[in-house]
Protein backbone atom coordinates (compact mmCIF):
# COMPACT_ATOMS: atom_id res chain seq x y z
CA UNK A 1 0.00 0.00 0.00
CA UNK A 2 1.23 3.46 -0.88
CA UNK A 3 1.03 6.52 1.36
CA UNK A 4 -1.71 8.12 -0.84
CA UNK A 5 -3.83 5.00 -0.57
CA UNK A 6 -3.30 4.93 3.15
CA UNK A 7 -4.45 8.54 3.44
CA UNK A 8 -7.67 7.73 1.65
CA UNK A 9 -8.58 4.76 3.79
CA UNK A 10 -6.38 4.79 6.89
CA UNK A 11 -8.15 7.76 8.45
CA UNK A 12 -11.55 6.12 8.58
CA UNK A 13 -13.24 6.09 11.91
CA UNK A 14 -12.74 2.87 13.82
CA UNK A 15 -16.43 2.36 13.86
CA UNK A 16 -18.99 2.34 11.17
CA UNK A 17 -16.89 3.16 8.14
CA UNK A 18 -13.87 1.09 9.01
CA UNK A 19 -16.11 -1.94 9.03
CA UNK A 20 -17.18 -1.04 5.48
CA UNK A 21 -13.63 -1.79 4.32
CA UNK A 22 -12.73 -5.37 3.71
CA UNK A 23 -10.46 -7.11 6.19
CA UNK A 24 -7.51 -7.43 3.78
CA UNK A 25 -7.49 -3.69 3.13
CA UNK A 26 -7.63 -2.94 6.83
CA UNK A 27 -4.75 -5.35 7.44
CA UNK A 28 -2.77 -3.76 4.66
CA UNK A 29 -3.36 -0.26 6.10
CA UNK A 30 -2.25 -1.38 9.54
CA UNK A 31 0.92 -2.91 8.10
CA UNK A 32 1.64 0.27 6.15
CA UNK A 33 1.23 2.39 9.29
CA UNK A 34 3.65 0.13 11.10
CA UNK A 35 6.22 0.50 8.31
CA UNK A 36 5.82 4.19 7.43
CA UNK A 37 6.52 6.64 10.28
CA UNK A 38 4.98 9.53 8.29
CA UNK A 39 1.67 7.74 7.86
CA UNK A 40 1.80 6.56 11.46
CA UNK A 41 2.22 10.19 12.53
CA UNK A 42 -0.62 11.19 10.25
CA UNK A 43 -2.84 8.55 11.75
CA UNK A 44 -1.92 9.70 15.22
CA UNK A 45 -2.62 13.32 14.30
CA UNK A 46 -5.93 12.32 12.88
CA UNK A 47 -6.80 10.46 16.05
CA UNK A 48 -6.11 13.65 17.97
CA UNK A 49 -8.15 15.65 15.51
CA UNK A 50 -10.93 13.13 15.88
CA UNK A 51 -10.89 13.58 19.64
CA UNK A 52 -11.13 17.33 19.09
CA UNK A 53 -14.01 16.80 16.67
CA UNK A 54 -15.60 14.57 19.27
CA UNK A 55 -15.30 17.42 21.79
CA UNK A 56 -16.89 19.82 19.33
CA UNK A 57 -19.64 17.33 18.64
CA UNK A 58 -20.27 16.99 22.36
CA UNK A 59 -20.48 20.72 22.95
CA UNK A 60 -23.06 21.14 20.22
CA UNK A 61 -24.85 17.83 20.72
CA UNK A 62 -27.85 19.24 22.55
CA UNK A 63 -27.90 22.62 20.84
CA UNK A 64 -31.39 23.75 19.95
CA UNK A 65 -32.91 26.75 18.33
CA UNK A 66 -33.65 29.40 20.97
CA UNK A 67 -37.25 29.66 22.10
CA UNK A 68 -37.59 33.13 20.59
CA UNK A 69 -37.43 31.64 17.08
CA UNK A 70 -40.46 29.48 17.79
CA UNK A 71 -42.28 32.49 19.23
CA UNK A 72 -41.49 34.59 16.17
CA UNK A 73 -42.56 31.83 13.80
CA UNK A 74 -45.82 31.20 15.61
CA UNK A 75 -46.56 34.92 15.68
CA UNK A 76 -45.94 35.10 11.94
CA UNK A 77 -48.04 31.98 11.39
CA UNK A 78 -50.94 33.50 13.33
CA UNK A 79 -50.69 36.78 11.43
CA UNK A 80 -50.51 35.08 8.08
CA UNK A 81 -53.52 32.87 8.64
CA UNK A 82 -55.60 35.56 10.33
CA UNK A 83 -54.99 37.81 7.34
CA UNK A 84 -55.90 35.00 4.99
CA UNK A 85 -59.13 34.30 6.90
CA UNK A 86 -60.04 37.98 6.95
CA UNK A 87 -59.42 38.21 3.21
CA UNK A 88 -61.55 35.14 2.57
CA UNK A 89 -64.32 36.57 4.73
CA UNK A 90 -64.14 39.89 2.87
CA UNK A 91 -64.28 38.15 -0.51
CA UNK A 92 -67.21 36.04 0.65
CA UNK A 93 -69.03 39.11 1.97
CA UNK A 94 -68.42 40.97 -1.26
CA UNK A 95 -69.81 38.10 -3.31
CA UNK A 96 -72.79 37.76 -0.98
CA UNK A 97 -73.52 41.48 -1.28
CA UNK A 98 -73.22 41.40 -5.05
CA UNK A 99 -75.55 38.39 -5.25
CA UNK A 100 -78.05 40.07 -2.94
CA UNK A 101 -77.93 43.24 -5.03
CA UNK A 102 -78.55 41.30 -8.24
CA UNK A 103 -81.42 39.36 -6.64
CA UNK A 104 -82.95 42.55 -5.27
CA UNK A 105 -82.72 44.22 -8.65
CA UNK A 106 -84.27 41.19 -10.34
CA UNK A 107 -87.16 40.96 -7.89
CA UNK A 108 -87.77 44.70 -8.04
CA UNK A 109 -87.86 44.61 -11.81
CA UNK A 110 -90.25 41.66 -11.79
CA UNK A 111 -92.57 43.42 -9.32
CA UNK A 112 -92.48 46.55 -11.38
CA UNK A 113 -93.39 44.58 -14.46
CA UNK A 114 -96.26 42.86 -12.61
CA UNK A 115 -97.51 46.17 -11.25
CA UNK A 116 -97.43 47.64 -14.71
CA UNK A 117 -99.36 44.72 -16.14
CA UNK A 118 -102.00 44.75 -13.34
CA UNK A 119 -102.36 48.49 -13.65
CA UNK A 120 -103.19 48.14 -17.31
CA UNK A 121 -105.68 45.36 -16.63
CA UNK A 122 -107.38 47.35 -13.83
CA UNK A 123 -107.64 50.41 -15.98
CA UNK A 124 -109.21 48.36 -18.75
CA UNK A 125 -111.65 46.82 -16.26
CA UNK A 126 -112.65 50.19 -14.94
CA UNK A 127 -113.23 51.55 -18.39
CA UNK A 128 -114.81 48.61 -20.14
CA UNK A 129 -116.86 46.67 -17.59
CA UNK A 130 -119.67 47.42 -15.22
CA UNK A 131 -118.13 45.58 -12.38
CA UNK A 132 -120.61 44.55 -9.69
CA UNK A 133 -117.81 44.33 -7.17
CA UNK A 134 -116.77 47.42 -5.32
CA UNK A 135 -114.88 49.59 -7.69
CA UNK A 136 -112.59 52.45 -7.09
CA UNK A 137 -113.22 55.80 -8.66
CA UNK A 138 -110.17 57.91 -9.09
CA UNK A 139 -110.38 61.09 -7.19
CA UNK A 140 -110.90 64.12 -9.31
CA UNK A 141 -107.80 66.08 -8.83
CA UNK A 142 -109.31 69.27 -10.09
CA UNK A 143 -111.85 69.42 -7.28
CA UNK A 144 -111.68 68.58 -3.64
CA UNK A 145 -113.06 65.09 -3.02
CA UNK A 146 -116.53 65.20 -1.58
CA UNK A 147 -118.59 62.33 -0.26
CA UNK A 148 -121.88 63.01 -1.86
CA UNK A 149 -125.13 61.16 -1.90
CA UNK A 150 -125.12 60.26 -5.57
CA UNK A 151 -121.91 58.29 -5.45
CA UNK A 152 -123.26 56.04 -2.75
CA UNK A 153 -122.20 52.43 -3.41
CA UNK A 154 -118.93 53.47 -5.04
CA UNK A 155 -115.64 54.06 -3.33
CA UNK A 156 -114.09 57.47 -3.44
CA UNK A 157 -110.35 57.52 -3.31
CA UNK A 158 -108.84 59.31 -0.41
CA UNK A 159 -106.44 62.10 -1.27
CA UNK A 160 -102.92 60.79 -1.85
CA UNK A 161 -104.10 57.27 -2.82
CA UNK A 162 -103.66 55.80 -6.27
CA UNK A 163 -106.15 53.58 -8.05
CA UNK A 164 -105.11 49.99 -7.56
CA UNK A 165 -106.31 46.42 -7.69
CA UNK A 166 -108.70 45.70 -4.87
CA UNK A 167 -108.02 41.97 -4.60
CA UNK A 168 -105.66 42.36 -1.67
CA UNK A 169 -107.72 45.04 0.02
CA UNK A 170 -110.28 44.65 2.79
CA UNK A 171 -113.51 46.51 3.29
CA UNK A 172 -114.12 47.59 6.87
CA UNK A 173 -117.38 49.13 7.97
CA UNK A 174 -117.01 51.65 10.74
CA UNK A 175 -119.27 54.06 12.57
CA UNK A 176 -118.04 57.62 12.87
CA UNK A 177 -119.21 61.19 13.05
CA UNK A 178 -119.43 62.82 9.69
CA UNK A 179 -116.89 65.43 10.82
CA UNK A 180 -114.26 62.65 11.11
CA UNK A 181 -114.29 62.32 7.31
CA UNK A 182 -112.50 65.62 7.15
CA UNK A 183 -109.59 63.92 8.89
CA UNK A 184 -109.39 61.62 5.86
CA UNK A 185 -109.11 64.67 3.66
CA UNK A 186 -112.72 64.85 2.47
CA UNK A 187 -114.89 67.91 2.44
CA UNK A 188 -117.80 67.70 4.86
CA UNK A 189 -121.05 69.66 5.18
CA UNK A 190 -120.39 71.91 8.17
CA UNK A 191 -123.98 71.78 9.38
CA UNK A 192 -124.04 67.99 9.82
CA UNK A 193 -120.64 67.30 11.23
CA UNK A 194 -121.99 65.81 14.43
CA UNK A 195 -124.20 63.23 12.68
CA UNK A 196 -123.23 59.61 13.21
CA UNK A 197 -122.86 57.71 9.98
CA UNK A 198 -121.58 54.35 8.85
CA UNK A 199 -118.91 54.22 6.16
CA UNK A 200 -117.05 51.46 4.38
CA UNK A 201 -113.30 51.94 4.31
CA UNK A 202 -111.24 50.17 1.66
CA UNK A 203 -108.07 49.22 3.51
CA UNK A 204 -105.02 48.45 1.39
CA UNK A 205 -102.54 45.62 2.02
CA UNK A 206 -100.35 48.11 3.88
CA UNK A 207 -103.13 48.64 6.46
CA UNK A 208 -103.94 52.20 5.38
CA UNK A 209 -107.37 53.31 4.16
CA UNK A 210 -107.33 53.93 0.44
CA UNK A 211 -110.94 54.76 -0.35
CA UNK A 212 -114.25 55.33 1.37
CA UNK A 213 -117.94 54.93 0.50
CA UNK A 214 -121.26 55.36 2.11
CA UNK A 215 -123.04 52.05 2.28
CA UNK A 216 -126.42 51.74 0.62
Amino acid sequence: MKCEEFESIGLERNGVRMSELDAALRQSAAEHAARCPGCAALQESWQEARIALQALRETTRDAETPQRVEMRLLHEFGMRHRTRKARSAAIFAAWALATAAVLFAGVSWRNWRLTQAHGNVSAENVVKTDAPAPSVTPADTSEEPTLIADNEGEFTLLPGSLPQETDDSAIVRVGMQRGALSALGLAVNEERVSDWIQVDLLVGPDGLPKAVRLPQ
Partner: protein
Protein backbone atom coordinates in the same frame (compact mmCIF):
# COMPACT_ATOMS: atom_id res chain seq x y z
CA UNK B 1 -43.08 0.81 14.59
CA UNK B 2 -44.98 3.01 12.16
CA UNK B 3 -45.96 6.59 12.84
CA UNK B 4 -49.72 7.13 13.08
CA UNK B 5 -51.22 8.70 9.97
CA UNK B 6 -52.16 11.91 11.76
CA UNK B 7 -48.61 12.41 13.08
CA UNK B 8 -46.79 11.94 9.80
CA UNK B 9 -44.78 14.95 8.72
CA UNK B 10 -46.54 15.32 5.39
CA UNK B 11 -49.94 15.18 7.09
CA UNK B 12 -48.83 17.78 9.62
CA UNK B 13 -47.55 19.97 6.82
CA UNK B 14 -50.84 19.70 4.97
CA UNK B 15 -52.72 20.68 8.10
CA UNK B 16 -50.33 23.52 8.82
CA UNK B 17 -50.87 24.83 5.30
CA UNK B 18 -54.58 25.06 6.12
CA UNK B 19 -53.83 27.14 9.20
CA UNK B 20 -53.47 24.51 11.93
CA UNK B 21 -50.95 26.09 14.27
CA UNK B 22 -50.59 23.00 16.41
CA UNK B 23 -49.42 20.94 13.45
CA UNK B 24 -46.93 23.61 12.47
CA UNK B 25 -45.57 23.72 16.03
CA UNK B 26 -45.22 19.95 16.13
CA UNK B 27 -43.41 19.93 12.81
CA UNK B 28 -41.09 22.70 13.97
CA UNK B 29 -40.27 21.02 17.27
CA UNK B 30 -39.59 17.75 15.53
CA UNK B 31 -37.00 19.12 13.12
CA UNK B 32 -35.58 22.34 14.53
CA UNK B 33 -32.80 20.83 16.63
CA UNK B 34 -31.19 18.78 13.87
CA UNK B 35 -31.39 21.67 11.41
CA UNK B 36 -30.03 24.11 13.97
CA UNK B 37 -27.11 21.84 14.87
CA UNK B 38 -26.19 21.40 11.23
CA UNK B 39 -26.39 25.15 10.60
CA UNK B 40 -24.44 25.88 13.77
CA UNK B 41 -21.68 23.44 12.89
CA UNK B 42 -21.49 24.73 9.37
CA UNK B 43 -21.54 28.43 10.16
CA UNK B 44 -19.89 28.27 13.57
CA UNK B 45 -22.22 31.06 14.59
CA UNK B 46 -25.36 30.66 16.65
CA UNK B 47 -26.96 33.85 15.34
CA UNK B 48 -26.50 32.73 11.77
CA UNK B 49 -27.80 29.25 12.62
CA UNK B 50 -30.84 30.78 14.29
CA UNK B 51 -31.51 32.95 11.26
CA UNK B 52 -31.14 30.00 8.93
CA UNK B 53 -33.62 27.85 10.88
CA UNK B 54 -36.10 30.70 11.07
CA UNK B 55 -35.74 31.29 7.35
CA UNK B 56 -36.29 27.61 6.61
CA UNK B 57 -39.55 27.48 8.53
CA UNK B 58 -40.70 30.79 7.10
CA UNK B 59 -40.22 29.29 3.66
CA UNK B 60 -42.20 26.26 4.71
CA UNK B 61 -44.94 28.52 6.02
CA UNK B 62 -45.03 30.68 2.89
CA UNK B 63 -44.83 27.94 0.31
CA UNK B 64 -45.95 24.63 1.83
CA UNK B 65 -47.09 23.41 -1.57
CA UNK B 66 -43.52 23.36 -2.82
CA UNK B 67 -42.99 20.18 -0.87
CA UNK B 68 -43.53 17.07 -3.00
CA UNK B 69 -44.09 13.87 -1.09
CA UNK B 70 -42.88 11.83 -4.04
CA UNK B 71 -39.42 13.39 -3.78
CA UNK B 72 -38.75 12.33 -0.21
CA UNK B 73 -39.67 12.94 3.40
CA UNK B 74 -40.31 16.38 4.88
CA UNK B 75 -37.12 16.10 6.98
CA UNK B 76 -34.94 15.74 3.89
CA UNK B 77 -36.80 18.60 2.21
CA UNK B 78 -36.17 20.84 5.21
CA UNK B 79 -32.55 19.78 5.34
CA UNK B 80 -32.19 20.66 1.67
CA UNK B 81 -33.53 24.17 2.30
CA UNK B 82 -31.26 24.51 5.34
CA UNK B 83 -28.26 23.46 3.30
CA UNK B 84 -29.06 26.00 0.60
CA UNK B 85 -29.49 28.77 3.16
CA UNK B 86 -26.23 27.84 4.87
CA UNK B 87 -24.35 27.82 1.57
CA UNK B 88 -25.83 31.20 0.68
CA UNK B 89 -24.80 32.50 4.07
CA UNK B 90 -21.27 31.23 3.60
CA UNK B 91 -21.09 32.76 0.14
CA UNK B 92 -22.41 36.06 1.41
CA UNK B 93 -20.12 36.26 4.39
CA UNK B 94 -16.92 34.49 3.49
CA UNK B 95 -14.91 33.93 6.60
CA UNK B 96 -16.90 36.57 8.42
CA UNK B 97 -17.83 35.72 11.99
CA UNK B 98 -16.79 32.15 11.44
CA UNK B 99 -15.27 31.91 14.88
CA UNK B 100 -17.77 32.60 17.57
CA UNK B 101 -16.74 34.26 20.78
CA UNK B 102 -16.54 31.71 23.56
CA UNK B 103 -19.56 31.92 25.83
CA UNK B 104 -21.02 34.45 23.44
CA UNK B 105 -24.51 33.23 24.17
CA UNK B 106 -26.29 30.42 25.90
CA UNK B 107 -27.42 28.55 22.84
CA UNK B 108 -23.99 27.39 21.86
CA UNK B 109 -22.84 24.64 24.09
CA UNK B 110 -24.06 21.75 26.07
CA UNK B 111 -23.12 23.31 29.40
CA UNK B 112 -24.63 20.56 31.49
CA UNK B 113 -22.55 17.91 29.78
CA UNK B 114 -19.40 20.02 29.98
CA UNK B 115 -19.82 20.71 33.67
CA UNK B 116 -19.66 17.04 34.49
CA UNK B 117 -15.89 17.10 34.02
CA UNK B 118 -13.20 18.53 36.24
CA UNK B 119 -12.14 22.13 35.60
CA UNK B 120 -8.89 21.01 33.96
CA UNK B 121 -10.69 18.56 31.75
CA UNK B 122 -13.30 21.17 30.95
CA UNK B 123 -10.65 23.75 30.06
CA UNK B 124 -8.82 21.27 27.85
CA UNK B 125 -11.97 20.26 26.12
CA UNK B 126 -13.00 23.85 25.60
CA UNK B 127 -9.64 24.71 24.12
CA UNK B 128 -9.65 21.70 21.86
CA UNK B 129 -13.17 22.35 20.84
CA UNK B 130 -12.42 25.99 20.04
CA UNK B 131 -9.38 25.02 18.00
CA UNK B 132 -11.30 22.51 15.99
CA UNK B 133 -14.26 24.85 15.62
CA UNK B 134 -11.94 27.48 14.18
CA UNK B 135 -10.32 24.97 11.88
CA UNK B 136 -13.67 23.61 10.65
CA UNK B 137 -14.99 27.12 10.09
CA UNK B 138 -12.04 27.92 7.85
CA UNK B 139 -12.59 24.96 5.55
CA UNK B 140 -14.11 25.70 2.14
CA UNK B 141 -17.85 25.19 2.22
CA UNK B 142 -18.05 21.88 0.35
CA UNK B 143 -15.27 20.26 2.40
CA UNK B 144 -16.74 21.67 5.56
CA UNK B 145 -20.11 20.16 4.68
CA UNK B 146 -18.56 16.74 4.18
CA UNK B 147 -16.69 16.96 7.49
CA UNK B 148 -19.75 18.20 9.37
CA UNK B 149 -22.03 15.53 7.92
CA UNK B 150 -19.65 12.59 8.23
CA UNK B 151 -17.63 13.50 11.32
CA UNK B 152 -19.94 15.63 13.41
CA UNK B 153 -23.38 14.44 12.36
CA UNK B 154 -21.96 10.91 12.04
CA UNK B 155 -23.92 10.11 8.91
CA UNK B 156 -22.90 7.33 6.58
CA UNK B 157 -21.45 8.23 3.18
CA UNK B 158 -24.71 7.28 1.58
CA UNK B 159 -26.80 9.49 3.85
CA UNK B 160 -24.36 12.38 3.49
CA UNK B 161 -24.39 12.01 -0.29
CA UNK B 162 -28.17 11.97 -0.32
CA UNK B 163 -28.42 15.11 1.80
CA UNK B 164 -25.74 16.92 -0.19
CA UNK B 165 -27.24 15.88 -3.48
CA UNK B 166 -24.02 14.45 -4.88
CA UNK B 167 -22.57 10.99 -5.55
CA UNK B 168 -20.95 8.96 -2.77
CA UNK B 169 -17.57 9.20 -4.49
CA UNK B 170 -17.75 12.99 -4.35
CA UNK B 171 -18.51 12.89 -0.65
CA UNK B 172 -15.60 10.53 -0.07
CA UNK B 173 -13.16 12.74 -1.90
CA UNK B 174 -14.48 15.92 -0.26
CA UNK B 175 -14.15 14.28 3.13
CA UNK B 176 -10.64 13.19 2.34
CA UNK B 177 -9.64 16.68 1.28
CA UNK B 178 -11.51 18.19 4.21
CA UNK B 179 -9.69 15.99 6.67
CA UNK B 180 -6.34 16.79 5.13
CA UNK B 181 -7.02 20.52 5.32
CA UNK B 182 -8.38 20.19 8.82
CA UNK B 183 -5.28 18.34 9.96
CA UNK B 184 -3.04 20.93 8.40
CA UNK B 185 -4.94 23.73 10.11
CA UNK B 186 -4.89 21.98 13.46
CA UNK B 187 -1.16 21.36 13.16
CA UNK B 188 -0.64 25.01 12.32
CA UNK B 189 -2.73 26.00 15.30
CA UNK B 190 -0.64 23.97 17.67
CA UNK B 191 2.63 24.78 15.84
CA UNK B 192 3.24 21.15 15.01
CA UNK B 193 5.38 20.16 12.00
CA UNK B 194 3.07 19.88 9.04
CA UNK B 195 2.93 16.95 6.75
CA UNK B 196 3.20 18.21 3.21
CA UNK B 197 0.69 15.85 1.65
CA UNK B 198 -1.94 16.77 4.22
CA UNK B 199 -1.89 20.42 3.32
CA UNK B 200 -1.91 19.82 -0.44
Amino acid sequence: MSIPEQDRDDVLLRRAAKGDQESFTLLYRRHQAALYRFALRMTGNSWAAEEVVQDVFMTLMREPKKYDLARGPVGAYLFGITRNRVMKHLERLPRELSLEEPNGNGARTNEAAVNRFTPVHWAEQQERSERVRAAVSELPAEFREAVVLCELEELSYEEAAQLSGCPIGTIRSRLHRGRALLLAKLEILRDAPRRVSAAR
